[in-house]
């Protein structure tokens, strides 16, 4: 069941196409991790989805039980934290909550206090938000996003500046909201390792385009532990692979005469023997750990090299 779809959503600032025909699908109940390098267009995309920025072209649909809602109606069901934590610096945490709640017609003061406690802030604290640490500001912004029991949460770097305990607490909170309250979450984060702990699907953005959408299970599959083999003649190696591994998912042929073998019970010596007997010379062989973060980084184009400065 769809929660949000975008159809060729585009944003142009002056001459720069910041978001380029992004067609994204967020399904109900998903935790969708939006990833990309700085300037990839993630925040602008989220700003358009939340109605803060007008798309230059394309369309956006927000659903409630398969029923497409008008955007202003739909936005009432969305809680968001976009760009940076927004709050009135001259107000306390509770006053900020109260102001936001009043603006959307919510009167349940007790619930506001509970939300603050839930994110680790004291509702009775008279400290002004301008004196909060970055982590506290993030917590307040998350609490504000949760006002009104939203069915969809859109969070842009929600754990930015938080300590490890805070990151853990917010992750648990988001996962609880997703599991127990059926809240659909669209989250952008640079902390890939953190994202892989909760996301059920991913969207990868590069230069304003959504280059790939991938389910969590698919990514897990791609991130299984494997044995990396480099051979001298890949053409000779292919029939051997087909003969040895009946399941095509057990190996992957990559450029540079490289083969990844995903069979968990396979050993390096057996692989070397098999290729040698078939007349294929193994030039390199090594066991590699599966790593979601590395897999995502490779999808983003791999890490930047720093060799030139050393």
């Amino acid at each position: 069941m769809k929660a949000i779809t975008t159809n060729k959503l585009t944003k142009v600032y002056k001459d720069a196409k910041v978001v380029d025909e992004v067609s994204l699908t967020l399904n109900k109940g998903d935790i969708y991790g939006l990833i990309g390098r700085n300037g990839a267009g993630k925040t602008t995309l989220l700003r358009m989805i939340t109605g803060v920025a007008k798309p230059t072209s394309g369309s956006l649909s927000i659903y409630d039980d398969e029923l497409e809602l008008p955007q202003d109606e739909a936005l009432k069901r969305i809680g968001s934290l976009i760009d940076f934590p927004s709050y009135d610096p001259s107000f306390t945490a509770y006053e900020n909550m109260k102001f936001t709640a009043t603006s959307i017609g919510i009167k349940d003061d007790e619930r506001l206090k509970k939300l603050l406690i839930c994110v680790g802030l004291d509702p009775e604290d008279n400290k002004k938000a301008k004196n909060f640490s970055l982590g506290m500001k993030q917590r307040l912004a998350i609490a504000m996003a949760l006002i009104g029991n939203p069915k969809i949460l859109i969070l842009d770097e929600p754990v930015n500046g938080m300590d490890p305990t805070g990151i853990y607490e917010i992750r648990e909170l988001l996962m609880d909201l997703n599991r127990k309250c059926d809240v659909t979450i669209l989250i952008s984060s640079h902390l890939l390792a953190e994202l892989t702990k909760m996301a059920t699907c991913y969207g990868i953005m590069s230069n304003g385009k959504l280059v790939r959408e991938i389910r969590g299970e698919e990514l897990n599959e791609m991130s299984r532990p494997f044995i990396r083999v480099v051979v001298d003649d890949i053409k000779k190696a292919v029939p051997i692979l087909a003969q040895t591994f009946a399941n095509g998912n057990d190996f992957q042929i990559l450029p540079g005469n490289t083969i990844h073998i995903f069979k968990e019970d396979e050993t390096i010596s057996h692989i070397e023997d098999t290729f040698n007997m078939g007349g294929v010379k193994v030039t390199e062989v090594a066991k590699c750990d599966g790593n979601l973060e590395e897999q995502l980084i490779s999808m983003l184009g791999g890490p930047k090299s720093h060799d030139e400065i050393f």
């Binding site: 109605g51 920025a53 009432k76 969305i78 610096p89 102001f99 009043t102």
Partner: protein, 269 residues
């Protein structure tokens, strides 16, 4: 989303803001200082320690001075400056802090949000303007006197209060427009000061020309200049009446249209 919710939220913000109480205190201090200084000067004239300026006879008569200060109270620049600051804090700071973004992302309507702010600031303008008159009346009674204050003068005073509120609403419309264009506190205050300086320049130029000439009338058409006419205790001719009705109305309508257009068509950062 209901418009009344925007009003309630903005009223909550006003109630919780320190500036709403601090600014009238500053105004009170400045006005009090003005009365004290004039009172001391008057006493010095009376005792003969200082020779009075023969061209300025107003200060020699307590009753006339008290009346003059009362009628011209809202045309003092203090109130205009307070309105500038109110606009910058109440509108621009909400853009800067991201609270406008939060409200929009929850489905708030931009026109509704704008009018909620306009109504709240109009309320502040009405309270501050009436407060200025009340303060001036109390201080005029205490320091000078308002002996022989007639019913006709009282009528003029009421007219002056109503006109001052009306003209101040046009001033607040200009400042709100600047706040919606600039969208940050420092920039808004800077733009408002610039506008105020240009208005003062127009008033100075207008004063150089004989009243009623076309050039003077053109330069008179700035709200700050109209405020000085609002404090006039006498009958207006037809031209002045029309000017006092239509010029502020023009600024209110045009500035509100520009503000709404800007708010609707520009993305919120």
């Amino acid at each position: 989303m209901k418009f009344s919710n925007y009003l309630k939220a903005d009223f909550y913000k006003l109630k919780r803001s320190n500036w709403i109480w601090i600014m009238p205190l500053i105004l009170f201090g400045v006005v009090l200082l003005l009365y004290v200084l004039l009172f001391i000067l008057m006493k010095l004239y009376e005792t003969g320690e200082v020779e009075p300026d023969p061209t300025n006879t107003l200060i020699l008569e307590a009753s006339a001075l008290g009346r003059s200060l009362l009628f011209t109270a809202p045309s003092e620049s203090n109130l205009t400056i307070l309105l500038m600051v109110a606009c910058a804090i109440f509108v621009s700071s909400e853009f800067k802090s991201g609270m406008t973004k939060i409200r929009l992302s929850r489905g708030a309507n931009k026109v509704g949000l704008y009018f909620s702010k306009f109504i709240m600031l109009s309320g502040v303008t009405v309270v501050y303007t009436i407060g200025t008159f009340i303060l001036s009346a109390i201080l005029s009674l205490c320091f000078f006197n308002l002996n022989g204050f007639t019913a006709l003068e009282f009528g003029y005073l009421i007219r002056s209060i109503v006109l001052s509120i009306y003209i101040n609403l046009s001033i607040i419309s200009i400042y709100m427009m600047l706040a919606y264009l600039v969208r940050n506190m420092g920039g808004t205050i800077g733009a408002c000061i610039g506008t105020y300086v240009v208005g003062s320049l127009f008033s100075t130029v207008a004063a150089l020309f004989q009243e009623g000439t076309p050039v003077a009338e053109i330069f008179n058409c700035v709200p700050s200049r109209l405020l000085t006419f609002a404090g006039f205790a006498g009958e207006y001719d037809l031209a002045k009446t029309l000017e006092l009705i239509f010029v502020p109305l023009f600024f209110i309508v045009v500035c509100n249209i520009v503000s709404i257009f800007t708010f609707k068509n520009r993305d919120v950062k």
